[in-house]
Symmetry: C2
Subunit: 305 residues, 2 copies
């Protein structure tokens, strides 16, 4: 089944130890949708300016991404620029120009409103809520957030995630949201905030899936070279949710198949790892589903005993 994805579609300027690009296709919604497109049909809700290039529309459409909810308004698209440290573990933001994204007021096309899967990328929590309120018959809804919303929009954020099925954040954000340094205690506190499922991303160290009845851990895939980590977390989210949507997993049935959740975490990890292999979204210009499934089996091979 298809899934709705809300977030930013943007242009990025990126510098890593392996190279530099001034302006390439980026944005959380873009990465999520590209990643999810290997498992389901993503339906984008986002806004771009009239500078958004035809070749970028064409690329997204070529991956069977529904662009009916990609609004184009006069002005410039969201632009972000950053530079990574030598070991890629830190990055410094050089520019954040919201442009048309500053007035983003997501409106869903009628054909999106009964879609059973909704992934809310990292945007203002009130906007995330307004998108959810426009939909009905949801089987899985959840998303991402970031330190800025946790620190300065805490009550708004808590209200928003209280009705989600899952929250997908990194370890630093989990510690910040819960006020607990220990991840096990942090997870317990976050599960008490509403979501029955929590995924904590740990960058190169993998991810942890938490539910009240237990957890699942996967190590990070070892790459010979991390070319550009931009978007890896969003690709994780897209693979995770895309797989669940593709399989038709229903969180509201009261009977979630735990092994499907675990496989979704693996597919998330697989997609995050591919994302790092080239600059920006470039890996998705050639990546095939067969390669995705091959890497999934690699995960099984290097983790089973």
């Amino acid at each position: 089944m298809s899934m709705v994805v809300v977030g930013s579609v943007a242009y990025d300027g990126i510098e890593t130890p392996h190279g530099k690009v001034d302006r390439i296709l980026g944005g959380a919604c873009t990465y999520i949708a590209l990643s999810a497109s290997y498992f389901t049909q993503p339906k984008i809700v986002a806004v771009v300016g009239d500078d958004f290039a035809q070749e970028d529309y064409d690329f997204l459409a070529s991956r069977n991404i529904d662009l009916a909810g990609l609004e184009c308004v006069p002005g410039k698209s969201f632009f972000w620029a950053g530079v990574y440290s030598n070991d890629m573990n830190d990055r410094e933001t050089l520019a954040t120009e919201l442009n048309v994204f500053a007035d983003f007021d997501p409106k869903l096309p009628a054909a999106y409103k009964d879609c059973p899967y909704l992934l809310l990328g990292n945007i203002q929590p009130a906007l995330q809520r307004s998108v959810k309120d426009q939909m009905s018959g949801l089987k899985w809804v959840g998303g991402d957030t970031m330190n800025y919303w946790i620190a300065d929009f805490r009550q708004e954020l808590l209200k928003t995630i209280s009705t989600w099925d899952f929250l997908l954040i990194n370890d630093g954000e989990a510690r910040m949201l819960s006020g607990e340094n220990n991840l096990k205690k942090a997870a317990e506190k976050i599960l008490a905030m509403g979501p029955h499922t929590l995924v904590i991303k740990r960058g190169e160290y993998g991810a942890i899936l938490w539910r009240k009845d237990g957890h699942f851990m996967v190590p990070g895939y070892l790459l010979e070279r991390v070319f550009d980590p931009t978007g890896a977390g969003d690709c994780f989210a897209g693979g995770f949710m895309g797989y669940l949507a593709g399989q038709g997993v229903d969180a509201r049935s009261g009977n979630i198949d735990h092994n499907e959740l675990r496989k979704a975490v693996i597919y998330g990890s697989v997609m995050g790892s591919f994302c790092c292999e080239k600059f920006g979204v470039d890996r998705f210009r050639t990546l095939t589903r067969a390669e995705v499934d091959e890497r999934f089996e690699e995960f099984r091979a290097f983790t089973s005993f």
Copy 2:
């Protein structure tokens, strides 16, 4: 089958955010032997001063550790003191008093010399070599080292590990030894130095087993509270090698059971995690083999999909 363990038996002063002890039983050889004692009979080769307490002899003996090679000489035992940072990821050494350990010249009791398993704790590479030279009929030999030997005794160290079956070090040491920041490349370079098996410990993030034909990754066990991480890496080594010795795995047969190696990494991880639950070696005063096996099954439960 039994295994010989060489290294330090010492007293430690430890301060963590959870408490402070001035002088408790410690040392790499101690931790390794206690951990391995759940799987095999460890035979210690070490030196202590005449201040070494009867209750500490008794404790080691109570775990069926062979103390024939624990030499006692006039003077004080090796003493180390350190203080951990609040998040336990860093520690500062406050004191290193070699005392009788400064003149340690390991001599093996006759009954040790045909033992098929040898684990060389972190001591001077030339001493590690002299111990190995005293033995015959070895089926598995390997050990640990540290940044000091890698930086200042590099040629000596390379000569020593060139004849080992396995090397067991942490990620920082692997990067330093190989000169490669990327762990995959680092592992390839180290495997070309002699050992056919490499285990890279990553602290709270788990461990990786490397061989020329592939690798195995395990995430770190999530503890609610890390009471004291002192000795966790040595306990990993003891669990890893102790399990192989207990199972009689033969590296020289040319036909190593890879699943036994993977299980050895899990048992190493299990023992390292228990070590952190109390100060110093205290967890091993009560730990049972049944608890060890229960946690082994927990690892299977939270990693399989």
